[in-house]
Amino acid sequence: MDPLSGLLLGFQVALTPQRLMFALLGAFVGTLIGALPGIGPVTAIAILVPVAFNLDATDAMIMMAGIYYGSMYGGSITSILLNVPGESASVMTCLDGHQLARQGRAGAALGIAAIGSFIAGTLSVVGLMFLAPVMVKVALGFGPPEYFAVMLFGLVTLAGLGGSSLRKALIMAAIGLLLGTVGIDPIVGVTRFTFGQSFLWDGVGFLPVTMGLFAVAEVLLSAEELYRYQAVRVRLRLKELLPSWADLVTSKGAILRGTVIGFVVGVLPGAGATIASFLAYALERRLSKNPERFGRGAIEGVAAPESANNSAVAGAFVPLLTLGVPGSGATAVMLGVILMFGLRPGPLLFETNPDFVWGLIASMYVGNLMLLVMNLPGVPVFASLMRIPYPVLMPAIIAFSFVGTFALNNNMADVLTMLVFGLIGYLLRKADYPPATLVLALVLGPMVEKALRQSLVMSQGDFSIFVTRPIAAALIGLTAVSLLAPLIIGALSQRPQPEPALTAEESRD
């Protein structure tokens, strides 16, 4: 099916009153949760998975895509008004957004973030629409060795780019893969690591683990800094939310460049919104005639990262839908949901479930428009959330996580799993171990192992199959580069510099 026919089908699927309601609900709830300090898209999506799971697959994914978009925008509200990034992709927005807020221009910053997000979100869905079918054609030629290589690449890239320590991220990836082996072996049928417990036969559920690592651990971490997030009274009037014509003219280049960077980076498995927003901000600063304005309230410093992180969302759907390889923690949770519905993301999904795929893509156009229409007048409402004392949110998040996890299989074993992973996640996150890598590895684990073993069956146990097939070899090569580059850069940066010609800030650029 060509992209335009697909989109036509998609609009037929998405433009029903019920699905429009789910897109609106997702965008609204996503913004609402994203606007709560310290809660990012992964947590927002994770705590709403149980609600989605009670819906039809297409309804659920339309709602979750709306939550993803909405929470990305919601994160910018706390970044700009409170200087507290909802998650890592909003860090760059804080730099200039909060400065603008302190100068009394919070409305302009929030407005340009909404407009930039809308333009970037819409254009990147066009990219998704045209790139996905091309990727599908390439992916149809993939065998198990290529799938193994692409999943390994995604995991290693996420580990290499995502956290403070490559070693810690690799440990998380290995533990996630190990947890993925719990249950009945998919090839020979023996049970592994079940220790006589029948609830482990189906494996460790990704949802209790995700809820524990994100929602419960997040609450415990927030409890440590209970009084950091002071309730804030923010007064914004609608007319103050519209950026000036000069702001729009100044930002148009930043929005377009941010869109391109965000989409390209988002498509790469393992990279994502955070890297995209960093790159977009750095590029704008480099291109600016007055780079010294950045960090002091430059409107392009809000437009570029906000456009990039929204564009990366659509980009991340390309590997998710065409290869079944999520590029980020949020898309890993979405992959888990798609698998729970019995659908198998990959090139065949476009053949077997075109209504699902194209309905989702079309709903992204609709969702972006809804987000813009809702957010400009809605910002004062979302900003008023910051008046809720943070301690009030903590037991509410726990209660929601409890009932959500219980609702999955109506049993307490999942709740206990969530509790255990909440405590483990709290300790791991305190020591800077990145939980998103574990979740991604847990979701991919069974597929990685299956692809590895099928490849070795094909080659009769010979590992050279991964370097003798061109695509697999290229991906393994890229994986090795991703793995070694941080080590080499780290080693080089520790060597004594002969002349301190650059300041630390300049050398980062």
Binding site: P50, V51, N54, R167, K168, L170, I171, A174, I175, L177, L178, T181, D185, I187, V188, V190, R192, F193, V216, V219, L220, A223, E224, E225, L226, Y227, P389, P391, V392, M394, P395, A396, I398, A399, F400, F402, V403, F406, A407, N410, M412, V415, L416, L419, G422, L423, L427, L428, K430, A431, Y433, E449, L452, R453, L456, V457, G461, F463
Partner: protein, 152 residues
């Protein structure tokens, strides 16, 4: 922070070794580890080895690093963390005894009062949270939530 790093590295190394040991039991008795590449134990065995190896490297790095090089933590509300952990554990236990509705109301109310929030706000929040979750999950989504001695 240093103690946490050391403790976690030790725990992760032990976990990796345990996983490798358990996985090694899964290979066919006749095959050596390198020959059994298609067996159910091969993949988890090497993952266990990787976890143990990487955690050991981390342990050594932490031990050789000067104590002041490891970031220290600023002032924290440890009491609030303790209250939350205790409240969550009690909540999970109480759901089976009192049912979802009563346990959730008591959990939210008790936690907020323990965190020094005003009683009226705590009561109102407990009622709103419990009511919303009950309506969404029990009534709308028809999830059979645990019931207590009163039948709800």
């Amino acid at each position: 922070m240093r103690a946490l790093e050391v403790a976690l590295s030790l725990l992760l190394a032990a976990f990796g070794l345990f996983a490798a040991f358990e996985a090694s039991k899964l290979r066919s008795p006749a095959a050596s580890l390198t020959q059994d590449v298609l067996g159910p134990g091969f993949f988890p065995f090497w993952l266990g080895v990787a976890v143990a190896g990487l955690a050991t490297v981390g342990l050594l790095q932490t031990l050789v690093r000067r104590a002041d090089a490891v970031a220290s933590v600023g002032p924290r509300s440890w009491g609030a963390v303790g209250i939350m952990i205790l409240a969550i554990v009690l909540y999970v236990g109480a759901v089976g005894l009192f049912g979802f509705v009563l346990a959730t109301f008591l959990f939210v109310l008790g936690t907020l009062i323990a965190l020094k929030q005003p009683v009226t706000l705590s009561g109102l929040t407990a009622a709103v949270v419990t009511g919303t979750l009950y309506l969404v999950f029990a009534r709308w989504l028809q999830v059979p939530l645990p019931v207590g001695p009163f039948g709800w």
